[in-house]
Amino acid sequence: MTRNRVRGRLPAVLVLPALAGLAFLLVPLAGLVIKTPWTSLPTLLGAEVGEALRLSLICASLATVLCLFLGIPLAWLLARSGLPGRGFLRALVTVPLVLPPVVGGVALLLILGRRGLIGQHLDAWFGISLPFTTAGVVVAEAFVAMPFLVISVEGALRAADPRYEEAAATLGASKWLTFRRVTLPSVLPGVVAGAVLCWARALGEFGATITFAGNFPGETTTMPLAVYLALETDPDAAIVLSIVLLLVSVGVLAGLRDRWISGPT
């Protein structure tokens, strides 16, 4: 009480919109919880839900791994290489962030589709066809989610003191060893935070997935797709699917938050 009095009254002009914003974010989630038909939950959680959930988790995780493999080196290139035109590159990397995912899906089809610029060669030379496959889901999710990882890791790299890398060099460490043993461990919190964001984004991916990978139950029907389909045929099932997705996302974020993404307290 005393402390509040010392700080003085909070200005209403800020507090009221803040509370409205909070409500705007939380009320729909609360509605989802309230509307959930908890009693008939076990019957609705059928094999299809399990399948879609399993597919979602696998694809989002694979997409995250793909993003880590490609995104960390890309972030390093942007943060450390001194490459000319880095600012422009950085801007390009963020394009998928603002691009409507459906457009991303169309773009992927044009490049990796069976008649696409690269896709036709993949098909002719290796017999690989990505669209409308589980692999296609992973590609679509990675395309949309990678900027989250790159931006997070690049920020961590730019905040890390490059003199530690110089110290490693004077100790005889090659650039690759320095990266592995010195740079990467020092930016690990940024990598984990980026990976969590990336994974969450991949888990929720809809537009690019349905455009590039289509909707085949058991193969490309991830949770968001299943939610959308169920909404037309069986609204209760849609709610159940949504609540499962919500619980999984929140669960993962909460699990990792304490350890890795704790903000300033």
Binding site: E166, A167, T170, L171, G172, A173, K175, R181
Partner: protein, 348 residues
Amino acid sequence: MTLNAELRVTRGTFSLDLDVTIAPGEVVALLGPNGAGKSTALRTLAGLLPLTSGHITVGESTWDGPDAFLPAEKRPIGVVFQDYLLFAHMSALENVAFGLRSRGTRKAEARAAAARWLDRVGLDGYEQAKPRALSGGQAQRVALARALVTGPSLLLLDEPLAALDASTRLQVRSELSRHLADFGGHTLLVTHDPLDAMVLADRLVILEGGRAVQSGPPAEVARQPRTDYVANLVGLNFFRGKASGTRVDLDGGGGLTIAEPAEGPVHVVFPPNAVSLHAEKPEGSPRNVWPVTVAAIEQHAHTTRVRLDGPPDVLADITTATLAELRLRPGDELWAAVKATEVHVYPA
């Protein structure tokens, strides 16, 4: 295997032009004010910054030159950085073992050697401590062990004691001095602290504005400074002038009588405690006496330092008794006196 370097670097308006020679076992201190180019010189020797021109050779091998550049990771060097730059996610042992590991030593062997070095710098029992848990002095010792464990040919110390508090500093300095005496390679110490340089180095090189303005053994540099910066470091009144017999006309105005006759351009020094202050003009004895005005008064531990406007301007150290007697205040007009025998003169 003498280290020979002509360090020439141009960066924007700053240029470094410094010749350094270090014999095996010799400790050379690069002493200079901030921005003199000390760190630039160190970085070129470490291989973190290529030379614009010039060369660095150690014995037969060329580290940097017109057609060769050995990057830092290929040079047999050890560096102690100003804030140590210990890897925060590794234990003290892993930090020390890192250099051996990256040069291909097997893990068990590297860890054993690292443990021996930690023991040698007095950190037995701290193998598993993370840098965060170490005190400043302990971190400095880990950094020294990390730099020396690989048996480098050149040891570079960048302000190795600057981050320590006064009490730790004294002890770490004497330990460092002992380790440097045992070290058979070349050592370059970069510092802006004259005491560190005097205690640790066999030879000083004074760097100002990217150029060496003076070099020599510490005692010689302390006795015969050649620039205002050095004179200030060693705490002497310093003047340039032209000598003719026992008379020196100072460049900044005024003149002094000296005991030993000299000719031509000279440097003149005398310590602040050789200056006595008088309210009335003192008579008799072959003294230098001139009117001065008190500009500033600083209280030091045991003496009071008075800054006086001349010409010539001088610093005078006086006792508390004298201070009380004269009741000095800025603006007071006094007479300064220095015995001719206290004045040291040497050719410019």
